[in-house]
Symmetry: C2
Subunit: 236 residues, 2 copies
């Protein structure tokens, strides 16, 4: 069974959702048959690349709140994260353009190491007060600390064309699915769930999607020339 | 729309089928929205790795035919290939274990260059009298001639664990789908076609699968905490 999760490193509920989904998956009896792929969704693609700003100031400005109201929202998020067993800093966090991170996640996926990259980026953003966005040096350092090769990471970060098409393809697919926000979970392209659900809810959806997973595609045509264990026979 | 094609480099009808499918895809109006992935199926995984034998002698022995009958079968395959516009040598071809080729195809896929690798392997096997199976040197040379990095190819060929799990996963999926022979085509995991169909038949299936492609997954749950363009709001 394939589970696709649209996500953004800027998104605290994606960070929470990953923990809760993984907790549900860890208890799922068919977990070994579940392939998880993280897909790209930029919460704010209009932020210029290479810049960074304070999350609290950004939220206050964007939603017409006071700094104190915005800081309070961060503290509520932090409490929810702590409840899920996650580290979360409520001060010092920044925000910014996540396109390069999405490209890195596709590169890591090609290496079979997407989970490691995503975990490293989430921790760097949510569990560390140091600025993450707007600094290629910090971004590369985070990936290197997670065990990725420094020169290879730097190459991907520097060449903005690499994996850009993959990011755009994910985003086009999200638009086709009508995704309005993230995290967004799709099970075998049959069922979907929006938002960071409680662990029990993820467990229910996993069970439902597993039970309803397509057994085999409908065979439309069997009369083509084919080779099998008994040789290549041209059907009559 | 996703098309998965189970294939083996040992399989002449896979070689023919690739040409016919691509001809159909080239005329398909939504070709830009079709993603093709080639999946692994070993026709004969019991052949020891590192060995090679004459195709004609192998076929004659396996099916209790005379060498002349087996050679005649090869000539018929060659005629079908020529009809499809493909080069095909009817003498000198060998056969063998294709596991390393499947691993290379997965590696090339991770680089976004699976088609190039598969085309190179097909041509090396079907359009060139030089032995291909049982010689790492020749295998590496074929990939290098196709533009792949020599050291990287040699690394993959030498380390038998690399992409082995991907090959096994493809084969397990084929077994789950009840695949008996290749080529085997699966459209969005909804429809399937067995064997190298005529171009017109592939065109019909592409049109049918496109028309019936799932528009969007069914949304089971929308009440999770999510972040969107308007911020992160905890639903009430």
């Amino acid at each position: 069974m394939q589970v696709e999760i649209w996500t953004d490193v800027n998104c605290p509920f994606c960070y929470l959702g990953k923990k809760r989904f993984n907790d549900a998956l860890g208890q799922f009896e068919h977990a070994d048959s579940v392939q998880v792929t993280h897909r790209s969704f930029e919460l704010d693609p209009t932020v210029p690349a290479g810049t960074s700003g304070s999350v609290v100031e950004h939220l206050a400005h964007k939603y017409g709140r006071t700094l104190e109201q915005a800081a309070d929202g961060e503290r509520q998020l932090g409490a929810a994260a702590h409840d899920a067993g996650l580290a979360y800093v409520t001060t010092g966090r920044d925000y910014g353009n996540s396109f390069d991170m999405h490209r890195l996640l596709h590169w890591a996926s090609a290496l079979g190491r997407q989970e490691e990259m995503l975990d490293a980026l989430y921790l760097a953003n949510f569990a560390d007060e140091a600025a993450l966005f707007g600094s290629d040096e910090r971004l590369i350092g985070v990936a290197v600390d997670a065990g990725f090769d420094e020169a290879a990471v730097a190459d991907v970060v520097a060449d903005k064309t690499r994996y850009a098409d993959d990011v755009r393809r994910d985003e086009a697919q999200a638009e086709e699915f009508g995704v309005q926000g993230v995290p967004f979970y799709v099970f075998d392209r049959k069922y979907a769930v929006s938002g960071a659900q409680p662990v029990e809810s993820f467990a229910q959806v996993l069970a439902q999607a597993w039970g309803d997973r397509p057994a085999a595609p409908q065979l439309l045509n069997t009369d083509g020339d084919a080779c099998g264990p008994d040789g290549c026979a041209v059907p009559q």
